[in-house]
């Protein structure tokens, strides 16, 4: 799932704007407000239909986890659906002591299981039984999926959440007369979440991991590729965590992470749709204004040392061949990030893009090919080209053809017409992004969190317009080189056996 999100973000990085009526429209239409507790609010009034999208984004994601916390941001995303002291329970006072007992037994069990073969199977069995009984007892007080029940009854749509390297986002759309419901539920979720049913949910996340990474060869390649690309920086850790990471997470650890960061000063909210901005600000102040701030998220101190030579990663899989080629690159606000946006569009945007034309249509080496930036944006990341070889061609042939196109970027200046086509595409995208209230809420929260201001949305195209053919050549020569490269590929089982 995460790579799909990464790709969406990569696509979103292309959305932009400049001096057209629309862009000015967006600039004038966004209303900003910061609460005293540090929470940032972005509002856009739009009356196309009586609906509203509300997105909450926390500036904390998997890069902010310590090594013994890997997977916790994502597991917390699940846990925050479990309710509060008032929602999701019929009697919190009676439930609370049981939750404490569960935690004691679960920690003992986790510890004993972590001993592996040296653990005591009799004790494990005893603790498992005890845990099951306690969970059953606590379960009597659980009101299942109460957030979802209430939202759904009121016509909520797209109720969901996602976790990335950079942040965690909770989203919903509602009929616009129900906005107060969102404020009541979300302020309660921010103020007094209760991580009930933690250990069943931990099993659910293990199933999620099997589903998205272990049963899908492409998922396996993706996480192996990323983990190999980064020696030091947590950017290389899987968002969901490795299986043994998830197995060893406890509610105590999750609560400590929660209390550190899930506070209004680390939250950005976008509300887009059929709203009255003044009344909406008053509503948000009333519900969220009293929630105390927490600690700001400290910067990740780890720095990725410069790569000392090409890295090559093989995954043997029960599937056809796949290929990924990545290069380390800086992230925004570094100007080279912007030039990579141009390179990405030159190489892979549409049927006329260089990689599609050359590898899909002319040489017919691949059935599909794409380029994107991943896996996150707050810290230096990777420019990645991903291709599906077409039989009988091998990954090696595809790789050589990709390098041929990358060499062209270094040796030939990009034509003015290609640059103009990119600006035209950005002009279209800036209008299109306004068509969906959810899409606009996503862009506003993403850019506020990653670029430091949503205004990047209205500056990006102007900046791209300043990119020259020499810029593209310089950046290609600097980063798209062998020593800076990671190559990952799936070798089909049958081929590996030979």
């Amino acid at each position: 799932m995460m790579q799909r999100i990464a790709r969406i973000l990569a696509a979103a990085a292309m959305l932009a704007t400049a001096a057209t009526a629309n862009a000015q429209g967006l600039a004038e239409r966004v209303r900003e407000h910061t609460l005293k507790n540090g929470m940032k609010l972005l509002l856009v009034e739009r009356h196309t239909s009586p609906t509203v999208a509300a997105w909450i984004r926390y500036r904390v994601g998997s890069v902010d986890e310590r090594s013994d916390e890997r997977g916790i941001a994502h597991l917390l995303e699940h846990m925050l659906f479990k309710g509060t002291r008032t929602l999701g329970t019929s009697d919190y006072a009676a439930e609370k002591p049981l939750l404490e007992k569960i935690e004691v037994v679960a920690q003992q069990l986790t510890l004993e299981k972590a001993k592996g073969e040296k653990g005591d199977p009799v004790l494990v069995e005893k603790l498992e039984k005890e845990l099951a009984e306690l969970e059953k007892e606590a379960g009597r007080y659980v009101v299942k999926e109460e957030f979802a029940q209430i939202y759904n009854r009121h016509g909520g749509a797209n109720y969901n959440a996602y976790t990335s390297k950079d942040g965690t986002t909770y989203l919903i759309s509602l009929p616009s007369n129900k906005l107060e419901l969102w404020a009541a539920i979300e302020s309660d979720r921010m103020r007094s979440p209760v991580l009930r049913e933690f250990y069943t949910e931990r099993s659910v996340v293990m199933e999620e991991r099997r589903r998205s990474y272990e049963a899908e060869p492409e998922g396996k390649l993706w996480e192996t590729f990323l983990a190999s690309a980064f020696n030091a920086h947590p950017m290389g850790q899987p968002v969901i965590g490795w299986m043994s990471d998830i197995q060893n997470l406890t509610r105590t650890k999750a609560e400590s992470f929660l209390q550190r960061y899930y506070a209004p000063n680390n939250a950005i909210i976008a509300i887009v749709g059929d709203i009255d901005p003044e009344k909406t600000i008053a509503l948000v102040e009333r519900y969220f204004g009293h929630i105390p701030p927490g600690s700001p998220v400290p910067p990740v101190a780890a720095e990725e040392p410069q790569q000392q030579g090409e890295k090559r990663i093989e995954v043997v899989g029960d599937s056809g061949a796949e290929l990924m080629v990545g290069f380390h690159k800086p992230t925004l606000p570094h100007r080279d990030d912007l030039i990579f946006d141009v390179i990405e569009m030159l190489l892979s945007n549409g049927r006329t893009s260089r990689l599609h034309r050359s590898l899909v249509v002319e040489k017919q080496l691949v059935s599909s090919i794409g380029a994107f930036t991943a896996p996150g944006h707050r810290y230096p990341n990777l420019f990645i080209i991903s291709a599906t070889p077409q039989a009988p061609h091998t990954s090696a042939e595809v790789e050589a053809a990709i390098y041929g196109e990358l060499e062209r970027l270094k040796s030939e200046p990009v034509s003015q017409r290609e640059l103009e086509q990119i600006l035209n595409r950005l002009e279209y995208e800036e209008a299109r992004q306004m068509t969906s209230i959810g899409g606009l809420a996503r862009n506003l929260t993403e850019y506020e969190a990653i670029a430091g201001s949503w205004r990047y949305l209205i500056e990006h195209r102007r900046q791209v317009a300043g990119v020259t053919p020499e810029d593209v050549q310089r950046v290609a020569k600097k980063y798209l080189i062998r020593e800076n490269r990671i190559v990952g590929f799936i070798t089909p089982q049958e081929v590996a056996k030979k």
């Binding site: 196309t48 929602l87 009541a184 899908e216 049927r351």
Partner: protein, 473 residues
């Protein structure tokens, strides 16, 4: 603010029993009330061109964009069995193969320079050609859109490319366990019907360019075709533009061939495909109903309670209570033209495969045993009724919604009466339709996974037919 906050914390601690409390800022979301929502279904204009094409139009001047979608009466249900894959290739090459006036490369270059798009595809019972453009490029993009529909060139080279890509997709069709399971259960439930067919490398090798052109000529014509147009344009101008672009296009056509109704499978099948993966994919299902069935509203409510989303019985038991899966749910598809499928699905670790199947059977059968609770009924009905509005959030959705209703022949007033029809559903109705349309005894099961690691052999559920998977080389 600060003092108030301390007071609030204290209150919560003391009153945690009655936390639906009365502090100034704690409002119980369960007890909120709301002003009524002002909403009427937006209407688009319907006109007929001189050649018989139907057009739905809806202006929306907020953004300088125009979208058009054409609905064409064709589909893979009409392709000859020995040429399975023909419809998909025709749909792709209609766009990729250029037009009589522009080579494929010229067409791509001109559209992409304007940041406009034209796309085309053919599904089971429908063909689409769609376009998007900035208003300033409307004229040129629309004429290219019309050319793709009325004068495609089907370039030989692009035909070969599309065929190669289709063969590659077939070569890789067993890479993804979920893809295998979905395909194979559909094949089994629609056995003997065009909806149950899948293209193979043999059928695709057999397809020639002439077959594709003949397929296009047979189905692409103004009679029965519907256009949905939305965005920043003037309706009067748009009508005359469409008349100019399409009015003279009058190819002859023969009536659409009849396609038989699919028949329910006489007995359940237990299907298994071996794949060395840690998680099994489970799909269970049988044939369902189509849109003219008057019980469809009660079925929708039943489906919501059984398998629709976070609050459903399947998700709550399999995911939330037992932690057996990340995803568990069902969908009772109300077919638009033919009976749809009822499919329940989950993925679970190999060692809980049989347990998950038994649980799903039990939960499905549970729907037929006693009435659902009043709370479940209320939640399902309110959710369906109150989220109805999201089908109309954009002009583009409104106009396409209306085009589709006509294309598939939904009865007049279908949308207008939809919410009232859901509101009328009772607990007795849900029990009645559960008993009539959920057939636990006929549920076929498809499992992809590592058979040796299952908790119980699949023969527990009946005689097993194994599907041998060929994998990509």
């Amino acid at each position: 603010m600060r003092c108030m906050f301390r007071f609030a914390i204290l209150t919560t601690l003391i009153l945690s029993l009655a936390a639906c409390a009365t502090t100034p800022w704690t409002v119980d979301p369960r007890k909120l009330t709301f002003p009524p929502l002002d909403f009427t279904i937006p209407k688009s204009e319907r006109v007929t061109l001189s050649n018989g094409m139907v057009v739905y139009l809806l202006e929306d001047h907020e953004l300088p964009l125009v979208n058009v979608t054409a609905y064409i009466r064709t589909g893979s249900i009409y392709e000859p069995e020995e040429l399975a894959g023909l419809a998909g290739i025709t749909g792709a090459v209609l766009r990729s193969g250029g037009t009589v006036s522009l080579s494929p490369e010229e067409l791509d270059a001109e559209l992409e320079f304007m940041a406009s798009g034209v796309e085309s595809g053919i599904g089971d019972d429908l063909g689409n050609v769609s376009m998007y453009t900035l208003k300033k490029n409307l004229d040129r993009t629309m004429s290219l859109f019309a050319e793709v529909i009325t004068a495609p060139a089907f370039s030989d080279a692009r035909f070969e490319l599309a065929r190669k890509n289709t063969l590659e997709a077939i070569r890789r069709q067993n890479d993804d366990p979920k893809g295998i399971a979905g395909r194979e259960i559909r094949r089994s439930l629609y056995a003997g019907h065009p909806l149950g067919r899948v293209a193979t490398s043999e059928t695709v090798q057999r397809i020639g360019r002439d077959d594709m052109i003949a397929f296009y000529k047979r189905f692409y014509r103004p009679q029965g075709m519907i256009l949905a147009v939305s965005g920043d344009f003037d309706s009067a101008e748009m009508k005359s533009r469409l008349e100019k672009l399409f009015g003279g296009w009058r190819p002859a056509g023969e009536p659409l061939p009849a396609v038989a109704e699919p028949l329910p499978t006489p007995r359940r099948e237990v299907l298994f495909a071996q794949k060395q993966v840690s998680q099994s994919v489970v799909r269970m299902g049988h044939l369902g109903v189509e849109k003219n069935n008057p019980d469809q509203y009660a079925i929708r409510v039943m489906d919501y309670i059984l398998g629709g989303g976070f609050t459903s019985r399947l998700t709550q038991e399999i995911r939330s209570n037992q932690g057996l899966a990340y995803h568990a749910g069902s969908r009772f598809d109300i077919g638009r033209r033919f009976p749809g499928l009822f499919i329940a699905e989950t993925e679970t670790k190999a060692a809980s495969t049989a347990r998950a199947i038994s649980l799903m059977e039990e939960i499905i059968a549970g729907m037929t045993k006693e009435p659902v609770s009043t709370e479940e009924l209320l939640l399902a009905k309110e959710s369906i009724i109150n989220s109805f509005i999201f089908g109309f959030a954009k002009a583009d959705s409104v106009v396409n919604q209306q085009a589709r209703l006509e294309f598939y022949g939904f009865p007049d007033g279908y949308l207008e009466n939809f919410r009232a029809n859901i509101a009328r559903v009772t607990r007795d109705d849900v029990l009645r339709v559960s008993r009539k349309y959920l057939r636990p005894d006929l549920l076929s099961v498809m499992v992809v996974g590592d058979g040796k690691k299952f908790d119980k052999p699949l023969t527990t559920f009946g005689p097993v037919r194994e599907i041998r998977l060929e994998t990509a080389k």
